[in-house]
């Protein structure tokens, strides 16, 4: 599903330098990415999503080399194939829960809003226990409920790859557990690959494998 070959990425005017020799993730595999702050976990996710491009090396997702796509194509590819969930939920406070979940269909020309999407949204909300909040605004929800909305939005387009950047970072342990279960269940239902950043080593057991990014970088530096 994901293949990274000899990639190197550095931000301009910064000492940060991310190098990975080789990384491969199979389809439907679930991976927890761990490592200390500043080691490049979020950068790696952005590289895989195509939000950033490596200075050298190649990254392929679903057999498509991200770097070979033009900006618009890359964006379209990301919207159609990848679901992203962030720690800060990224919900728009002036939209209802329902509108937030289907937001990718509103803003992207690559996705078309239709009745089926609304049904998927409602079914997902039902499974994640937020169906009664569909017409509420995010401000009316608890933190855990807001994160569930973010998970639903990340999965609403039934992506092949889910990139989650510490989606449980703001939650208590009970909610962390519920969100991880939810994410993995939904991913399993649609056969999606999951790559999730976490600081909680205890959560790694819930994934097929964990990836220590610092170790991976050290390997590449040798």
């Amino acid at each position: 599903m994901i293949r990274c070959d000899k990639i190197r990425f550095a931000y301009p005017n910064a000492a940060f330098d991310l190098r990975i020799d080789s990384l491969e993730v199979r389809k439907s595999e679930t991976i927890a990415v761990v490592g200390p702050s500043g080691c490049g976990k979020t950068t790696l996710l952005n590289l895989i999503a195509g939000n950033l491009l490596p200075q050298t090396g190649t990254i392929s997702v679903a057999d498509v080399e991200i770097g070979s796509l033009k900006l618009g194509e890359r964006q379209k590819f990301r919207i159609q194939k990848i679901g992203m969930i962030s720690q800060s939920f990224d919900l728009l406070d002036y939209l209802t829960v329902r509108e937030n979940i289907t937001l990718p269909y509103r803003v992207s020309g690559a996705l078309k809003m239709n009745r089926a999407v609304k049904k998927v949204c409602e079914a997902m909300a039902e499974r994640t226990g937020i169906v009664q909040h569909l017409e509420k605004l995010p401000a009316q929800l608890s933190t855990g409920e807001r994160q569930r909305v973010a998970v639903c939005r990340g999965l609403v387009n039934q992506p092949e790859l889910i990139l989650a950047d510490e989606p449980t970072g703001n939650l208590d342990s009970e909610n962390q557990d519920r969100i991880i279960s939810l994410l993995l269940e939904e991913a399993s239902r649609i056969g999606a690959t999951v790559m999730m950043i976490t600081h909680e080593r205890v959560l790694c057991d819930r994934f097929d494998r964990s990836l220590d990014l610092l170790a991976l970088r050290r390997e590449a530096s040798k």
Binding site: R78, D90, L92, L95
Partner: protein, 394 residues
Amino acid sequence: MNWSGLVFLGFRYVERNRGKVVLLIAAFTLVWLLPLSIGLVVKRAETELRSRAIDTPLLLGHTGSALELTFNGLYFTKPGVTTLPFRVVEDVFDMEIAEAIPLYARFLASGHRIVGTSLDYFKFRGLELAEGRALLRLGECVIGAGVAVSEGLGEGDYLISSPETFFDLAGVYPLKMQVVGVLAPADTPDDNAVFVDPKTAWIIEGLGHGHVDAKDAPAEQRLAALDNSESVNLNAAVVYYNEITEENATSFHFHGDTEDYPLTAVIVLPDSVKSRAIIKGRYAPNEQLQLISPEEEMDELFDTVFNVQTLVVWLLGLVGAATLLIGGLVFLLSYRLRCEEFSHLRRLGADVWTLRALVAFEAGFVIAFSLLLSGVGLLVIDQIAPVLIGSLLG
């Protein structure tokens, strides 16, 4: 770009931030509307006032404010102008180079000005009767189309003049006048006037009256001490008629010389340019009377009005520019607050043009809506402009 999504998000944002948006729309609407409405009202006033002034060659009145005389003679306002005697009309006719139309615009009937004038006035203004006939005898009135509509009156109905004050025991009795004609709409102040013969106006003022023949008056209405076979003096118990009918018309009479009776203005119609110059020369040295050209008075008035208007519009322009700058600042701050939101949308697939359009949507919505409201406001002001102008004239 996803147009439907853009419109959806734009409207949702505006809807959920309606407090801010409503304030901005109100402020922007005032920025457009105020200078435009001032310009519109002044333009309408100028057109309305000047056209009537151009149509009125000369106006004769008592010395005093030329502008008040113009307003009384043309628009029947300013009823407090100093009066001039009726004999002035005869004087003008005696010159044989001009016609004169008397005007006595002082009293009201149901809020409408009663204008005492001659039949020549209707011909001069080109006023046509929509129903009924012209004035023939005392106590009759011909009403303007506006009076007919607002009071629901027609031929054969009655209209009662309003007493000037309830405590004026000496005179200005209410007179019940019969409507004998209704004028066709003219879109001028004539529409809201009640036309009577000058003598009827004088009766309203109490200068003429009608009552039972003194010799036939009951004893309780006589002042016995002054009673003799030649003349009879009546006391305050005498009953005055408040309506002039065929039966009592002959009992109406005026005390004193009617040539001394008051008029508020006289329209003078010289028969040539030369006659106009002669008449002006004739009245120039007169310390009691003034002969004015309404058109010149209006030119002078509007010169002043335009100067004030220019100043006001400049000031409003400055205030408007400040308001627009503050509005711009609000949009800028709004954009800054939404930067994070836009980066989320970018990650969710919004292209750069969608984001730019989304930023412009709020400003565009506010500007478009405020322009729309201003347009509606201007239409409303255009409709009520005659009323506004009328109230400004007093």
